[in-house]
C-alpha cells in the first residue's frame, strides 16, 4: 500500500485527537529563593486524556518577545543572584510532560547538583505551553 496516495486508508493506524487545545502556565516570582540541591522551581498540572499520548505543542517564555516555539521543551535564563555574589543568570529548563496516566504537567527546573549557596531570582519569569493530545498508537 502506498499511504501517500490516499487521503486515508484502513491499512494504517491513525492518530486520534482526544482534546482541543489546553494551556498551562508557570510563573517564578521575583525574589524567590532556591538552591541547586532542589531543582524543581515550579509546576502546573492539568487533567487530560490517555497515557503515553503524543502531544503537539507550542511554548513561549517572557524572555522570547512573544515568539512561539514549536516545542515541548525550552531552555532559557532567569536573572538571579547568589548569596554574597553579584547579579548573574541561571539556566532554567521548561518541560511539558505526562506526569500521570491522566495528567499533563509543565515544570520549570534547574540543573541538579548538591549544595552551593542559595540563589534569589531578580525578575519574574513565566513559561506558557499550549498543547493538544492524541490517543497513543500503541496498545496502552
Amino acid at each position: 500500500m502506498y499511504p501517500e496516495k490516499f487521503i486515508q486508508t484502513s491499512d494504517f493506524a491513525t492518530l486520534k485527537n482526544d482534546s482541543g487545545s489546553t494551556t498551562l502556565s508557570v510563573t517564578i516570582p521575583n525574589g524567590m529563593v532556591f538552591n541547586h540541591s532542589n531543582p524543581h522551581l515550579g509546576t502546573q498540572t492539568v487533567s487530560v486524556g490517555t497515557i503515553n499520548a503524543p502531544v503537539r505543542s507550542r511554548m513561549t517564555t517572557t524572555k522570547r518577545g512573544g515568539a512561539w516555539m514549536v516545542s515541548s521543551f525550552m531552555l532559557d535564563t532567569i536573572v538571579t543572584q547568589g548569596a554574597g555574589l553579584s547579579v548573574d543568570f541561571t539556566y532554567v529548563w521548561c518541560t511539558l510532560y505526562r506526569s500521570s496516566p491522566s495528567q499533563m504537567s509543565l515544570s520549570i527546573y534547574i540543573e541538579s547538583f548538591g549544595g552551593g549557596p542559595n540563589f534569589t531570582t531578580r525578575e519574574p519569569f513565566t513559561v506558557t505551553a499550549v498543547f493538544s493530545t492524541f490517543l497513543s498508537p500503541f496498545d496502552n
Partner: protein, 208 residues
C-alpha cells in the same frame, strides 16, 4: 467550509502511522542503541520515553535534560532508529521508548499495514482527526512557509542532516535549530552549532 468544524474531511489527508517500535535502553552516563526499522526510507519519528514500562509518566525525547535529570533523543535514517541517552544521576536507569513513524512528503513507497487488530477502530467518531493542510520539505537551512490561517495551527517539524531526520520539539537558547509558529507562518531557524540541510513540516487545520 472550515475543516476545524469536522472530525474528518476528505478534502485533506490524515496522518497515517507507517510503523511503530518499542524497546528499552539502560542509560548510564552516555548510552546509545541502533535498531533497524526495515522501512526502506528515512521516516519522520515521534515518540515518548519513560522509566516506567507502563508509561504512567512519559516525556518527549527533547534535546535537553528532563525533570528526572535524564536526556533522551530518538531519530532515524533510512535504515535505523537511534536512541541516545545521558543519565546525569549516579548509577543506571532503564528507559523504555515508544516510537511511531510517518512517511515524509517527498517519499511515496509501499509500506506494510500497521492497523493489525480488528477490535481496534481505525476511525472512531468519538475523536477528531487532524487535517493536513500543508506538508512539504524546505530545502534550505533556514526560511519559512506561509499558512496565513489567522490563528496558531498545530504543527510538526523535523530537521534533516547527514541522512537523519530528528523531530524539532525543543528550543535550546538558539544553540540547536528550532522552529517558531505564528498566525501566518512557520519559521525554520538554524542553530549556532548546526544548520540542517532541509526541514520537513506538517501544518494542520486544527487550532492550537
Amino acid at each position: 467550509m472550515d475543516a476545524r468544524d469536522l472530525l474528518l474531511s476528505t478534502d485533506y489527508p490524515l496522518d497515517q502511522v507507517v510503523g511503530t517500535m518499542a524497546g528499552s535502553i539502560s542509560v548510564s552516563n552516555f548510552s546509545s542503541i541502533v535498531v533497524p526499522h526495515n522501512l526502506g526510507f528515512m521516516p519522520l519519528t515521534r515518540g515518548k520515553w519513560s522509566t516506567n514500562s507502563g508509561f504512567s509518566t512519559s516525556y518527549d525525547p527533547a534535546n535537553g535534560l528532563s525533570p528526572l535529570n535524564i536526556y533522551i533523543e530518538m531519530y532515524a535514517n533510512a535504515t535505523n532508529l537511534v536512541v541516545n541517552g545521558i543519565n546525569m544521576n549516579s548509577g543506571s536507569a532503564t528507559v523504555y521508548y515508544r516510537v511511531y513513524f510517518l512517511m515524509p512528503s517527498n517519499v511515496n513507497v509501499q509500506a506494510l499495514p500497521t492497523q493489525s487488530s480488528l477490535d481496534t477502530f481505525n476511525l472512531n467518531t468519538d475523536y477528531n482527526y487532524t487535517k493536513l493542510l500543508l506538508a512539504g520539505v524546505h530545502n534550505s537551512g533556514s526560511g519559512s512557509v506561509s499558512h496565513n490561517l489567522g490563528y496558531y495551527p498545530q504543527v510538526e517539524v523535523w530537521k534533516e542532516a547527514d541522512g537523519f531526520a530528528r523531530p524539532v520539539i525543543d528550543y535550546t537558547f538558539g544553540d540547536n535549530p528550532y522552529s517558531t509558529v505564528s498566525t501566518s507562518s512557520v519559521s525554520f531557524v538554524p542553530g549556532v552549532f548546526e544548520t540542517p540541510e532541509r526541514w520537513h513540516y506538517r501544518i494542520y487545520a486544527e487550532e492550537l
